[in-house]
Subunit: 354 residues, 2 copies
Amino acid sequence: MIDYLRKVAREIDELIRNDPFPESVRPEYLRSAVRDYPGRGGKRIRPALLIWSCAMLGGSEEAALYPAAAAEVFHNWTLVHDDIIDRDVSRRGAPTCHVTLAEEMKQFPLDDEARERSGRDFAILAGDLQQGWANDLLLRSVEHGVPPRVVLALSRKLQKLANAALITGEALDVEFSLRPITELSASQIREMLYLKTGALLRFCAEAGAMIALNTDSAEPEEVKILGEFAAAAGIAFQLRDDYLGLFGDYSSLGKPLGADLREGKATILLLTTLQMASGEDKAVLTDLIGRAEYSPTDLDTVRRIMHDSGATAMIDAETAQLAERARNLLREFPDNIYRQCLIDLINFLINRER
Amino acid sequence: MIDYLRKVAREIDELIRNDPFPESVRPEYLRSAVRDYPGRGGKRIRPALLIWSCAMLGGSEEAALYPAAAAEVFHNWTLVHDDIIDRDVSRRGAPTCHVTLAEEMKQFPLDDEARERSGRDFAILAGDLQQGWANDLLLRSVEHGVPPRVVLALSRKLQKLANAALITGEALDVEFSLRPITELSASQIREMLYLKTGALLRFCAEAGAMIALNTDSAEPEEVKILGEFAAAAGIAFQLRDDYLGLFGDYSSLGKPLGADLREGKATILLLTTLQMASGEDKAVLTDLIGRAEYSPTDLDTVRRIMHDSGATAMIDAETAQLAERARNLLREFPDNIYRQCLIDLINFLINRER
């Protein structure tokens, strides 16, 4: 699977690097910003999901390539705006888009605050342009083997799942961060995660199936099964993410352990622990939420409470169940190398250590 | 023409008000924000341009309606992000999107700064959602009489002219505001204005023609002529805007007279004056740029210098020439009521007092 994933990444990297869409953008630093995140590489899980879903059903990998690149660029523009909203300074080991652009502003006579603001303003526009780029890539798949009616159906699906659903998920995430953690339920978080992460994965799987079946309808069984598969895999992926945020390997993670806890971010793991912990442990944990810093001892305490309460075991079980469900859904399809790649991808995502 | 314009506005108002796209958006205040600007009415010049271009060539007004609404919603999302960038507080007599959303944040325990920031964050997302809404409206025109191949061609044109060109125009506008006015030329401003305003108008005119001709090609003479017509009309419209910013009627304008001057905004009028004014007048004018406030005497001085230098006469002549060129391009088409509406629209836009 890893070799196949690398192949997808190479093809997507090359397509994105050479794509003409950003060429007309000016000023030059904005054009660079538009190319920045999409060109940073990464695992390219969304493209792989789309291409393999298509290929598993006998569709052409070539036809799936532009829609796959569209999903990846779409994902990346949402990261640009997310990073502005979260005021994050680094992404995949390099400065975030708005930080890079603020640096570019040094060519103008601005004070620090104005420089930061202008960097943010241009980053808003960079994300806006990338949204257009993603749409354009998908539309241009008509020149690469996807019939017009299918392209139209996929473009509409992109507006529904990648625009409306995903951004609603992001908005709920922002709102949840403004509300006391005690007001939130695990099911609200689960829904938010489905919208924020699962919906775009669902788009990828369904789009791959529709290209393979040469249909503009989302009704065929294959499309529905692959959609459910992607939604289940997406939640499992997120649960693993939460877990690694506290139990992972610090050196290989992009952000410090406990970052979610410091931000008072309502993860399912945290909410489940608060629900299940004994009175005393609950008080200790509640007290630890939202601190500016955590000592190794603090983090050990949090981990112990999560463990003792039974929350980690419960989340582990849920993750395993979701992964099992995702794999079982795939068993409805004929056994071939792409089905195996999709199964391996699930295992890879939920067993990863970073 | 005014009656026809009102009819377009009514139809667009109704379509936008009842359109289902924003329904799935949450939280509820974000959904309201998504519907806000597009529902505020306004002259609906872009939809009129699209519908009349189509009808003038014998196309169906009904088929042009969804693309027209798409252009209007597209225009509105760019205003939402523009208003964030320009830190404007009012738009069409009501609070801007980010100000309204900051007000909504009072339901959360936030200090003033955090409230303002969260309002801005949600406004970024509101604009992002509206961009998807605009795309979705255009894609759905396939259900209202526009063939799939034409819808695809229009969607690609929207990414090129409304996304890439328009946002590049906005970015250049932001950059120009960071540079000393003396570094800028009128031709740079002219190009920026074409990108920021003319490109979307060009989309409207060309899209109307393509729907009427039932073509996915931008090559037919009619498409090209209407595109040039819209570009000329767009610049004329902007020149009039600059003029009214200083010579208009304060009470009927959305912003105070001299706002451009206070912001040191490089308008063609200002740059032309600086080029043409005598040494002494040029020094006086340069000194007046970027002040926090202007007395009526200050503004009279600015107006006198603009007049004496010959700049206003020159801009007036250019505006009239562009309008004449736009009208002449229309004379290539058969004389009918829609051609007359387009001619009247030009006259209306360049003779308006606000």
